[in-house]
């Protein structure tokens, strides 16, 4: 009797929660899964098919070309260069952003003057509001030939030496504040009594951070890491194209998959090739995210994405 009631109860719960999820699920179905059929364009020489050129008609009647649309990414003699740049920058960005944001979040939470913490945190978020195009103006103000504040050092836009560093700094500057908020919100949910207990046990400040704060924000660290793994092959176009002002001599250290594809397809409007490029990036991201998620699942099943 009671088990039946419990079962019914459980059933009701499932139903109720499913209803809550429906709006999101319907949206995903309509705006993500339905259009996903369009991925087949990546394998086609897609062209409108008169007299009735609806999307579905075009797809049904376009010629299949196998993997031809993908080859342009690798046909270049510079393929390795851009792939290396994309992966290396992303890896550095992910790790450094995480480390610095966590450090800043912990520092902010430890400040005695909360008003100052609030103030710093407000300012830190600001770069996230500004677009890369605007950031590029700012960088230009420093590095511009002749007029720039640092123009006497070198002709910055012709000399690739310092650009890896500049790009890393620009990326950190823009994104640390945002990640920092995530960790901060997680930290604020820690019950202070945990610190008190630790403190009474004689834990130093450092030990408290290590034993209380870090474990508590670990789910947030893990989830942000997993999610960024999925973008490992997608470079931030604004950073690599706008901030560098697309200056040719810098390409050895600034050319990434996204900028390469952009330049390659700028004049063409080959939907097949652009879909193929995107799909390729996504597949790499997918493999990466599944791998990271798999590892996390082995170690801490609770923190995995699914």
């Amino acid at each position: 009797m009671t088990t039946l009631k419990k079962f019914k109860n459980r059933h009701n719960t499932t139903l109720a929660i499913t209803i809550l999820m429906l709006p999101g699920a319907i949206w995903l179905l309509l705006l993500r899964y339905v259009p996903m059929a369009g991925i087949v364009i990546a394998f086609q020489d897609y062209r409108p098919h008169p007299p009735n050129p609806t999307l579905i008609n075009n797809i049904l009647n376009s010629r299949w070309v196998g993997l031809d649309n993908f080859t342009f990414i690798f046909a270049s003699a510079d393929a390795w260069r851009m792939i290396r740049n994309t992966l290396a920058y992303n890896a550095v960005f992910i790790v450094l952003t995480m480390l610095i944001a966590v450090a800043f979040a912990i520092m902010l939470s430890e400040l005695t003057k909360k008003i100052m913490a609030k103030f710093y945190q407000t300012l830190m978020f600001f770069p996230f509001v500004i677009s890369w195009v605007v950031v590029s103006y700012f960088v230009f103000a420093f590095l511009a030939p002749t007029y720039g504040l640092l123009s006497h050092i070198t002709n910055w836009y012709m000399d690739p030496t310092w650009w890896p560093l500049i790009l890393v700094i620009a990326n950190l500057w823009k994104n640390v504040g945002y990640s920092c908020i995530m960790y901060l919100v997680a930290i604020t949910s820690i019950d202070t009594s945990q610190y008190e207990a630790a403190s009474i046990d004689g834990a130093t400040k450092w030990q408290q951070v290590w034993n209380v704060t870090i474990p508590h924000i670990k789910p947030m660290i893990v989830i942000l890491l997993i999610l960024s793994a999925g973008r490992i092959f997608n470079a931030d176009f604004g950073l690599f194209y706008n901030v560098t002002l697309d200056s040719g001599p810098l390409y050895p250290v600034t050319d990434v998959v996204d900028t390469y594809v952009f330049r390659a397809l700028q004049r063409l409007n080959n939907i097949g090739m652009s879909t193929a490029a995107g799909l390729f990036q996504n597949v790499v991201g997918f493999i990466c995210i599944m791998a990271v998620n798999g590892i996390v699942k082995k170690i801490e099943p609770d923190h995995a994405l699914f």
Binding site: R10, T14, A16, I17, L20, M21, G24, A25, L28, L30, L31, Y33, P35, M36, A37, G38, I39, A42, L55, S109, L111, T112, Y120, Q121, M124, F125, F126, P127, F128, V129, I130, S131, V133, V134, Y137, A141, Y147, G148, G177, M182, V185, A186, T188, S189, I190, D191, E196, S199, K205, H216, P219, M220, I223, G230, I271, S274, T275, G278, I289, F306
Partner: protein
């Protein structure tokens, strides 16, 4: 009353949790330095936007221009009613979009958060999968335009950005770190339905997380121009970003192609905005969100202060 309790809390905290004065000073220097570096660019851009063209030619981009000018803004304000209408459009779309989006996000994330919900993994996977694989532009546009018939309506600006699976997972994590599941369990034992639990227990406790998601969502709505490019042809529905971007593109194009367009291009060059235009435009875009930010922030860091006084 609160002041007193805060006081007590901080002395108490001061006693058990103090960090050394030196360490705190170093932290202030690091955080303060970084924080300053974060806003100086914007101040710089404001200054440039108010610099006269002569000043730009003379001393370049400078914190101390030799002459001030409103000329860069003139071009923007010449838009007159169009500018104010686009402000309204952006404001309207951002508000409605953010509210709807956050509601959907919290409901979805709640399901993901509940470990006892059997379909959780399924829904997590279908959300995750769309983060990685999209369907490409043309099919998505077709759904909005031909299936939902939303072209040239506000919906075309709201619907495409309504859901961001990334936020689902962020929200789920916020819920995980801030609400122990035992709380949900006891609410259920008290006979609270799922919906009531969500509204009366989860939402209040997750306020900082919700505010964070709301802020991110509002930002992406405010900064969006791409959906306008795809779906909006009626200029009375232009959001601010799109209007200003069009204006900048238009000016750049004329500069680049003045010669090939011929004498007949009907361009009044004296009316072409100066170099400072692009700076002025970004000030016009960023200012509203800069003022709105403290509103979200109040909820986000409310936790900071609350954390200190919590029992």
């Amino acid at each position: 009353m609160t002041a007193v309790s805060k006081n007590i809390a901080s002395t108490k905290k001061g006693r058990v949790n103090s960090i050394s004065f030196g360490a705190e000073l170093v932290m202030h220097i690091i955080l303060g330095g970084f924080a300053l570096a974060c806003v100086i660019p914007f101040i710089f851009i404001i200054i440039i936007s108010f610099s006269s063209a002569d000043s730009l030619a003379e001393v370049g981009y400078s914190f101390m221009p030799i002459e001030w000018s409103l000329i860069a803004y003139r071009a923007a304000f010449d838009l007159g009613a169009d500018l104010w209408r686009s402000y309204f459009n952006s404001f309207f779309v951002t508000t409605v979009g953010t509210i709807l989006s956050v509601i959907i996000c919290v409901m979805y994330a709640y399901g993901l958060y509940r470990r006892d919900y059997p379909l959780g993994t399924f829904f997590a996977f279908i959300a995750f999968f769309t983060m990685i694989f999209g369907g490409g532009l043309a099919p998505t546009v077709m759904v909005i335009r031909n299936l939902l018939h939303m072209a040239d309506t506000y919906w075309a600006l709201i619907i495409p950005m309504l859901v961001n699976p990334f936020n689902f997972f962020l929200m789920r994590t916020f819920l995980r770190v801030s609400i122990p599941e035992s709380l949900i369990e006891s609410a259920r034992l008290d006979g609270s339905g799922e919906f009531r639990t969500l509204v009366s227990i989860v939402v209040p406790l997750a306020k900082p997380g919700i505010a964070t998601i709301a802020l991110l969502t509002a930002l992406s709505y405010w900064n969006d121009w791409f959906n306008a490019l795809l779906f909006i042809r009626d200029s009375s529905l232009y959001p601010l970003q799109y209007l200003l971007m069009q204006m900048q593109t238009n000016v750049d194009f004329i500069r680049r192609n003045a010669a090939i367009l011929g004498a007949s291009a009907n361009i009044d060059f004296s009316a072409l905005p100066s170099e400072g235009l692009r700076m002025a435009l970004c000030v016009l875009v960023v200012l509203p969100i800069a003022f709105a930010y403290p509103f979200f922030q109040r909820f986000i860091v409310a936790g900071l202060a609350v954390g200190a006084v919590k029992e």
